[in-house]
């Protein structure tokens, strides 16, 4: 059930989509959450979490390769039409909620760092208008945007690590492996959420021209983001002392407070503005997944499902404060259970089902 070749993208572009699906607001604040229990050993947890994601990519490719379609096709082959669509509906809700959580996180950053008086609905409307425009151009436009966001802001933002590294205290990382296994497991669990996002592959798989050839690019994409997250963790661990990091909400943004150029006193404003590109591509990707899924489930035009999701997102963005924490907790649990528990089981079921049919 491959998509029309006109809508497909080249296999190597999967690298950029996978990279972009993983990098969001999480990278600005994950350093603190992973260090909460495992202290400054937490960067090892990020590497370990990267290995899990690699395995997950392998599982997804196996699963989708069997039906050559997206997750909805997999569900309908196993569970039939009604139950299959019902289960897919939950995954679409997950995609949507994930995009909302990214949006709320970024709006909070804009409000704290740039415009404290700006109401959330204006910001969410502005971002979602550009997102709507991007998504209505189709999947190829989103891929183009994610390629762009990799080339322009991301590479530049990595170069900025030079400034904090000049005053880094590398001895902060010592002694290595000073925490118990349970603390390390906790850091793996919290970094899993930060580098989550590859599950978008479950929806865009039919849009890859030669899926088999794209597999290595997907793995490379995950490798790149794992290294990016690890470097980012190490840079903030060496820059802040441990108790200082625990007081900092967005370590990566506080790092850029040390950047001063002769023509620009404060760099964070530029940093956050450039980050908007990365964030809006991520939101576009998830909203595309969700709206396309709902389109297939309810047989409505994608335009309408997308519009509905955008409007609901604007409403949800208005609930600040405790709602955000509840939403995040909910999404972390959902992500863990659906994609690291349910999907591998689905692969097993599908394998036996196909074997059974061949034996008949």
């Amino acid at each position: 059930m491959q998509a029309n070749i006109r809508h497909q993208v080249s296999p190597y572009l999967v690298f950029f989509i996978i990279y972009n699906s993983q990098v969001g607001v999480g990278i600005l604040s994950f350093q603190r959450t992973i260090a909460a229990k495992a202290g400054y050993d937490a960067w090892i947890g990020v590497l370990a979490a990267g290995c899990f994601v690699q395995a997950f990519i392998w599982v997804m490719y196996k699963l989708l390769g069997k039906t050559n379609g997206d997750i909805i096709d997999v569900h309908t082959t196993i569970f039939g039409n009604v139950l299959g669509k019902f289960l897919s509906f939950f995954i679409m809700i997950y995609y949507w909620l994930a995009s909302v959580s990214v949006l709320i996180g970024f709006i909070e950053i804009i409000q704290v760092w740039m415009f404290p008086t700006m109401p959330a609905w204006i910001l969410s409307t502005l971002i979602l208008i550009s997102v709507y425009y991007c998504v209505s151009g189709g999947f190829r436009v989103i891929v183009g945007m994610s390629f762009l966001s990799f080339i322009f802001p991301q590479i530049l933002l990595i170069v900025l690590f030079i400034f904090p590294l000049k005053i880094a205290h590398f001895s902060n990382l010592l002694p290595i492996m000073n925490h118990s296994f349970m603390d390390m497991a906790d850091s793996i669990k919290s970094s899993m959420y930060s580098i989550a996002g590859t599950e978008a592959l479950l929806m865009f798989y039919p849009f890859i021209r030669d899926p088999k050839a794209s597999k290595k690019f997907a793995h490379l994409g995950v490798l790149f983001t794992t290294i990016l997250y690890t470097i980012s963790a190490i840079v903030s661990f060496t820059f802040f002392s441990e108790n200082q990091l625990k007081t900092t909400i967005w370590p990566e943004l506080s790092l850029t407070k040390t950047v001063t150029l002769s023509f620009l006193e404060r760099f964070e404003y530029l940093y956050i503005s450039m980050y908007l590109i990365i964030i809006s591509v991520l939101i576009s990707l998830f909203l595309w997944c969700s709206s396309r899924g709902l389109k297939k489930i309810f047989n409505r035009k994608q335009k309408y499902t997308l519009l509905l999701l955008c409007l609901l997102s604007i409403i949800l963005c208005h609930f600040n404060g405790s709602f955000k924490d509840i939403l995040n907790k909910f999404i972390i649990q959902m992500n863990l259970w659906i994609f690291y528990g349910y999907i591998p089981i689905l692969l097993l079921v599908l394998t036996f089902l196909i074997r059974g049919k061949q034996n008949d």
Partner: protein, 360 residues
């Protein structure tokens, strides 16, 4: 097509109509560039704010305003009542605290600098021997910007002189680091000049003791890497030599003896001879080996002296506790605080005089 252009028009209107964005025009705000805090009566604080005033066709002048209040932001809002334009803090360059207020602890004041996203982490902090208010109001600096003067005084001394590198970030790092206490430069109004007179050493956030100018050379060598600075040595037979550091590196080794830590500081230094005045008033060739030995001995004694001073006051600006923590997995902060006053520290200096200038 019409649809799309209507959409574009809508976007243009929306974006240009964003008049709810707060705008700050540079000559319609008062940018506070320096703040100073003194102790006032009845547990109040006397705050001083320095800001420049830009006028058309005239050189800019600076204003120094003072108010008394309970917190730094209250002082700002009191001062706001008497300024023509709103006071903003994004351009803050230097924050001064009087010795008396530092005796009580300066966390409360540093907290607001740390919390405000508009303030960079390269703000210079310094302790004033005397009043911060009087220092800002000095007659000599009436026509130039006194806060810029203080900042540049400190920065050039950190870059080229003997002052160890400090700023808001380093202060916070040391404050939060387990097993380290912060230090800040101590400045004073001496006969109508602003001078750096010493280094203020803190116990947590409270000023405890200071080290004089003559110990700067060894202190900087112990806490900073690869910095330049001049020091005069008066050796045997009253031979005078002046050395400039080209490279210095202090390595801290920790050994656990009978459950207690022992420290060895290996100080490696490459220097250049700047002045040589032997006691016999006769010109003679410089005997590198002999003088290197004597300089090493003098430096070792000097280092031990300041370490003993730190131990006496139970302050740890060298971060010996942090180094102990890096090397010993069973680190316990309470136990370390008990050990610290009697901890054994040995210093091995290795000074090499690389160049003797254009003559030998």
């Amino acid at each position: 097509m019409i649809n799309r252009s209507a959409f574009c028009l809508f976007l243009i209107l929306l974006l240009s109509g964003c008049s709810f964005l707060p705008t700050n025009i540079v000559n319609e705000i008062d940018m506070s560039q320096g703040v100073g805090y003194d102790l006032a009566e009845k547990k109040n604080i006397k705050g001083t704010i320095v800001f420049p005033i830009f006028k058309r066709d005239k050189t800019s002048s600076t204003e120094v305003r003072t108010a008394i209040g309970k917190s730094s932001k209250e002082i700002r809002s009191i001062l706001n009542n008497e300024t023509r334009y709103p006071l903003v803090s994004g351009q803050l360059r230097v924050a001064l605290y009087s010795k008396k207020i530092a005796n009580k602890g300066i966390t409360d004041f540093v907290d607001t600098l740390h919390r405000d996203p508009a303030i960079g982490s390269l703000v210079q902090l310094a302790i004033v021997d005397g009043g911060a208010n009087e220092l800002f109001k000095m007659k000599k600096y009436k026509n130039e910007n006194v806060s810029i003067h203080v900042r540049e005084l400190l920065e050039q001394n950190m870059k080229m002189g003997l002052l160890p590198q400090t700023n808001l970030q380093s202060f916070l790092f040391q404050l939060f680091q387990i097993g380290q206490d912060p230090y800040l430069p101590l400045i004073k109004n001496e006969n109508g000049n602003i001078r750096i007179t010493g280094m203020a050493i803190f116990k947590d956030d409270q000023y405890v003791t200071s080290i004089p100018m003559k110990d700067f050379f060894i202190f900087k060598a112990l806490v900073d890497k690869n910095r330049t600075g001049l020091r005069q040595f008066i050796l045997e037979h009253r031979d005078k030599i002046v050395l400039e550091t080209l490279y210095s590196n202090a390595k801290y080794k920790v050994k656990i003896v009978h459950g207690k830590p022992e420290f060895t500081i290996n100080l490696k230094m490459k220097t250049r001879l700047h002045e040589f005045a032997p006691s016999e008033k006769q010109r003679k060739a410089f005997d590198k080996k002999r003088y290197q030995k004597q300089v090493e001995q003098e430096l070792e004694i000097n280092a031990i002296n300041i370490v003993n001073q730190f131990k006496e006051h139970k302050v740890d600006p060298l971060g010996l506790g942090a180094k102990y923590k890096e090397h010993y997995r069973g680190f316990n902060e309470k136990q370390w605080k008990m050990y610290y006053p009697n901890v054994k520290v040995t210093v091995n200096a290795d000074v090499e005089i690389l160049q003797t200038g254009t003559i030998d």
